[in-house]
């Protein structure tokens, strides 16, 4: 990683990367043009968090946003699209290391991930790495099948059935 640290890569259009790192992990990265303490502040101050967490392009709006950003503190976001029941995202912060590291739980379901965000400053820029670790492969597969936080149960069950069926089908082919 540090072999070519002098040559700052030119920002591409898609500066955000995302990949499934393993059966249980998702990793997202992005570089911000500012020092880590500023990026960290934007993640840990509810008034600032509110301004970017739910972009307009999602068609959703943030109905409420509470975040007590300290170890053991809880957060609760309510998102709505006007039509259906609001989606609720909640959990607690389990690690808050100023300007460098933030860890929280996702407790919308028993299969929620633990999210770790690290802020690494290099020459006035900040490399942000967001890492989501699910309790099992099935949990991440489930999230991918549409069972993520806030889905209405009926829909989630249907997708779970779809997933089960596809897994069964896949297995019986081998």
């Amino acid at each position: 990683m540090d072999a070519k640290r002098e040559s700052e890569p030119t920002p591409k259009n898609d500066r955000t990367t995302a990949e499934r790192k393993s059966e249980r992990e998702l990793v997202v990265t992005r570089t911000f043009n500012g020092p880590a303490r500023i990026v960290f502040e934007a993640w840990t101050t509810p008034e600032l968090l509110k301004r970017w967490w739910v972009p307009k392009s999602t068609g959703l709006s943030l109905l409420s946003c509470e975040a007590d950003v300290r170890v053991g503190g809880r957060y609760r976001f309510e998102l709505g699209n006007g039509a259906s029941e609001p989606m609720v995202f909640l959990g607690k912060y389990i690690e808050v290391t100023p300007h460098s590291r933030l860890v929280w739980t996702n407790e919308e379901s028993d299969d929620g991930a633990v999210t770790t965000v690290t802020f690494e400053e290099r020459g006035g820029k900040t490399l942000l790495v967001l890492h989501e670790l699910y309790p099992s492969k099935e949990a991440l597969d489930g999230a991918m099948a549409g069972m993520g936080g806030g889905m209405e149960t009926g829909m989630a069950e249907t997708f779970a059935q779809l997933d089960d069926l596809l897994v069964t089908l896949g297995a019986s082919r081998r």
């Binding site: 898609d14 911000f32 500023i38 990026v39 999602t58 991918m144 099948a145 779809l162």
Partner: protein, 121 residues
């Protein structure tokens, strides 16, 4: 919330809402079959079965191939594609968030500069 941003699942949702189509998938899980075979197994007209297979095909759950006069059906490659599509939706969500976060970061930087200048004065 990624799931709200993509409609790709709707097709498979609709495809799986029907008992016959679920049965067809189960059947194809065991072995490839022609539309004629499937129509017979499910006591259905050829036209009726063609419709069901069409729905499954559009959802990517089934792939068909015509060899001579027989159209053979097999399971589609949906699962891999589904995962790739999900990750792209997930990436886009974060990308959109981070574009907004960029603006917040710029604003905080400007504010810090102004505050710093004030202090020196």
């Amino acid at each position: 919330m990624v799931q709200y941003m993509q409609t790709g699942f709707d097709a498979s949702f609709a495809a799986l809402s029907d008992a016959t189509r679920r049965g067809v998938l189960e059947q194809l899980g065991r072995a490839d079959a022609s539309i004629t075979d499937l129509a017979e197994k499910f006591h259905m007209t050829l036209t009726g079965m063609k419709k069901h297979v069409g729905v499954l095909e559009r959802a990517g759950l089934v792939a068909t191939e015509k060899v001579g006069r027989v159209r053979t059906c097999k399971l589609g490659r949906r699962r891999l594609e589904e995962e790739a599509a999900w990750i792209e939706g997930y990436r886009q969500l974060w990308d959109a968030r981070f574009d907004e976060l960029d603006k917040v970061v710029e604003e905080l930087k400007r504010k810090e500069k102004v505050d710093g200048r004030k202090k020196r004065e």
